[in-house]
Assembly symmetry: C2
Homo-oligomer: 542 residues x 2
């Protein structure tokens, strides 16, 4: 027997319609590529998203056709999120930090029909457009009068001209909530990128879970600055969660330096931000240099890679901002765990709370997780046993786009490629990527702990710990360090810094100082490149 | 093209499994009918819910068979919520405050197979059990040794004996998320009660929406006291929302007097409570009499009927507790609107905030609403136009159980029977039940405003405003008042109290003092009974 509730599919169009009706006055503020500040409301965003939908109809795009974006965080990108998916097409966000040939490869693989790009990326498009065989329409995200006349790109038009005379009043189509809504490729460090194809259903369930008080805690009393790019797993779902709750949105555009981000936070009275640690490093450096404080900022969600404990402490002690550690993956929409305290932890001493907050956190409802040994046997939740982290849930992939790589699941669980422990309270901590683990004499050494300790040293700007070959132990940790400008720091000082912080035998065998550590398109350290670079490195034998 | 996310149905069993795994240590505390305090954890609740599921299998109950409860808020009732619905049956909560013949009528109409009851209600069951033709199994919610030997009820057994040897380790069945999960009858004041049949899908979506920061804001840092009964629209969904987030649950059992509730709040460090205004009246009276304050209570959700502004103010000013006004219906699972401020309202003066907080609030995502005139034409959101309130959404009924009353929808919308206005910010305010509106000379007078003003008078315990016949104006307001014990209050004083608070012509024409105002099974004033009682009342002609 079925229940007798009304039958409404969970559709992305309902988010923007709800926001446009119930939060019509709430603001969306964007720093544009042009440098100026643009502001409008959810009512405007809803109207213009409907124009996008109608403009796509006029182009003759079919249901599920892909529309690509190569764009910063801003209001036009937001309209594409809702207009493309809401009208039944698939919004395909491409990471502009990829190499041009990778961008072309992805656009061809996705069979994108339309590609919308910020003017920042015109040089990239000029270089690749003839190689994108499926793209029929090129849209520059700018005013009609800002479109250069001589781009050479056939049929290029401006976004504003494109949507200007499309109607804004039609009803959104209703369809199966499991329909494809958004496509995002992993920035795999090996092999070709693989696509995660989100559905309307998965996106809405993820938005609900992500907005909960113990997750990102999104409300109509928030002004949210997503520094995390909209091309990076849908800015962790914040555009959807903000529309669901009527939160004010503040988009930073291309200006992600500490000064620009700080000024936007203050002028727009931002209460909450989200981004990767490297961005917050720039922000904190800027604030420390100029003796600045926050007026309204209360919490920042940090994910993408682990946040160094020193940064969590600095945010709390120096700026009265709570760091909310979050963990997820492109394959997970991305939210898996969020680190917010439980009732019985709220009265622990500050240092113990900090130790908890350094973990990746506990599962949000909808995500199930387990850690397993190499035989697939589930390991206990005691905070000591580390194993491969597997997850499942309605916003976690079942397969990749076009079935690439076959069935990625093991007994219905998605193996994340992370190595983690889970404590008795359900707080998960990543100890490593499984491919980054250092296998020393049959025991595992987690590289992330070693990196976090190095990063806590005042002279260190960035540190990577990789396995180097060792004649006796097979592998031993080698620390690769980028110093802060002007810092004087020796190998011996840094190794001594590990004393008492970690088991003696985990201490790196050696330190090399480098000018730069290679970063991937999402700001993560490319440790496979370092491993390649140091594959013949001779460790000092003790 | 469908998205490529994992396919997991939204099932109620996943809530208790999640809580049992990720919040296994979080407490569930119950004041039992026996008077003692029982405490255990979500891990225990999950295990015992599985026992319930297996015990139902042993009884041979089929998928979708109904299992009724006649019970207070407590841990065994919670286990039935999860065990019955989780195993694919339908948990049917019956309001024990109904007349015994109504209870029997409902049990027969629902075709309940099992009926579980608290020992408080043994006298009711003794009186009706032979009239409940479909009930094959009678379960008393007590220990095996507390079961009286001589009840005369054939086959009666204790809950504890029933589940004792049922296994606790099986996997929950997986099935269509639209399957029926819970059944709740409206306590209609006219005609037979009608059943709202909730699905697993509607229950989980409602739990997500209800737990959002702008709704009830449920988190693992909360200790929640649902005073609202679990037989009253599933305690507004709080048991589901608590399991979803790992919030501590504190169940008051049968002891709903101010002293008992206060003591439980303090001893269990309750942070949030939910209930109807009449319960809070008792609590506030008790606290005022004894000069008490709260240690941990921060907010209380008030619904069921409108909360008098004076109570909102007292909670805020005297006890530092935020009243969160909520509105809904049995037909709505029940959540429709919640009154939490928006960003631009957070800096308004306290009096203006109070005025907003007196409204029923703004729609949670998932609920769409509109007000219409008698011709069905949508009215503007200006805070002035009042009209019939219509709603739609995935946790609002499409039809009643067994199709009673035909199609309840109008163009896909459910007419709530409430008359309301909606302001420019989307805040809805009920001005009346459509059947309670007073039609004076062709204009509508809302009875609720008039009642609220009377209730703000220190001498008034309860006030109802009804239409009385008037030779010239057709109807005019008559105020029926129950004084506070010992209060001296005259008709003239009370009518003068309206001066300046409301349009002159809205002032009631007369006041009658009564010893008691009749209340329905959910604590609402039965104004139809008053109308019947005063149908020949002669208003003074001016």
């Amino acid at each position: 027997m079925l229940g007798l509730m009304q039958d409404h599919p969970l559709l992305i169009s309902s988010l923007i319609e709800f926001a446009g009706r119930h939060h019509h006055e709430a603001e969306i503020v964007s720093r544009r590529v042009e440098g100026d500040i643009h502001r409008y409301t959810y009512a405007d965003a809803a109207r213009r998203s409907r124009r996008v939908a109608n403009a796509l109809d006029r182009l003759g795009l079919a249901f599920s056709d892909r529309v690509a974006t190569l764009a910063w965080n801003g209001y036009r990108h937001l309209e594409l999120y809702f207009g493309v998916a809401g009208s039944g097409r698939v919004v395909h966000t491409i990471n502009p930090r990829l190499l041009p040939e990778q961008i072309a490869w992805i656009a061809n693989h996705a069979e994108d029909q339309v590609l919308c790009f910020d003017m920042t990326f015109l040089p990239i498009i000029k270089g690749i457009w003839t190689h994108c065989s499926t793209v029929k329409h090129w849209i520059a995200l700018c005013d009609a009068d800002k479109l250069p006349a001589d781009t050479g790109i056939a049929g290029l038009r401006s976004y504003e001209a494109w949507i200007a005379d499309a109607p804004d009043s039609s009803d959104w189509p209703q369809f199966d909530e499991r329909s494809a809504a958004a496509l995002c490729y992993t920035s795999g460090t090996t092999g070709n990128p693989k696509g995660a194809l989100y559905s309307h259903r998965s996106t809405l369930l993820h938005a609900f879970a992500g907005a909960l008080p113990d997750a990102l805690g999104v409300s109509a009393r928030d002004a949210i600055l997503p520094v995390v790019p909209m091309f990076h797993v849908n800015a962790w779902g914040l555009p959807y969660g903000a529309a669901m709750t009527g939160a004010k949105l503040v988009f930073p555009g291309a200006a992600l330096d500490g000064k620009s981000v700080y000024e936007l936070m203050e002028s727009e009275r931002v209460t909450m931000a989200a981004g990767v640690p490297t961005v917050w490093l720039g922000l904190l450096n800027h604030m420390a240099q100029h003796g600045l404080k926050f007026s309204t900022m209360r919490r920042t969600v940090i994910g993408g890679s682990a946040c160094p404990p020193a940064m969590i402490k600095s945010f709390r002690d120096d700026y009265d901002v709570t760091v909310v550690h979050a963990w997820g993956m492109t394959e997970m929409s991305p939210l898996g765990t969020v680190c917010t305290l439980k009732l019985h932890q709220t009265e622990l001493p500050g240092e113990q709370q900090l130790a908890i907050m350094g973990k990746q956190g506990r599962a949000v409802f909808g995500v199930e997780m387990k850690i397993v040994d190499p035989d697939g046997k589930e390991l206990p939740w005691d905070g000591r046993h580390s194993g491969d982290l597997h997850v499942k849930g309605p916003w976690i992939i079942g397969s990749y786009f076009k079935g690439e790589g076959g069935d990625p699941l093991v007994d219905g669980w998605f193996p994340t490629g992370d190595v983690a422990n889970i404590d008795a309270d359900g707080f998960m901590q990543i100890t490593d990527r499984s491919k980054d683990v250092i296998k020393s004499g049959g025991e595992w050494i987690g590289s992330i702990d070693l990196e976090n300790i190095a990063m806590a040293h005042p002279g260190v700007a960035m540190a990577a710990c990789i396995a180097a070959r060792h004649p006796r132990w097979d592998e031993r940790p080698l620390l690769v360090v980028m110093k802060k400008p002007g810092a004087t720091l020796t190998r011996e000082e840094l190794l001594a810094f590990y004393d008492g912080k970690i088991a003696k035998w985990w201490t790196p065998d050696d330190v090399v100082f480098v000018d730069a550590i290679p970063l991937g398109a999402t700001g993560k350290m490319l440790k496979n490149k370092l491993r390649e670079q140091f594959k013949d490195y001779q460790l000092p034998t003790v």
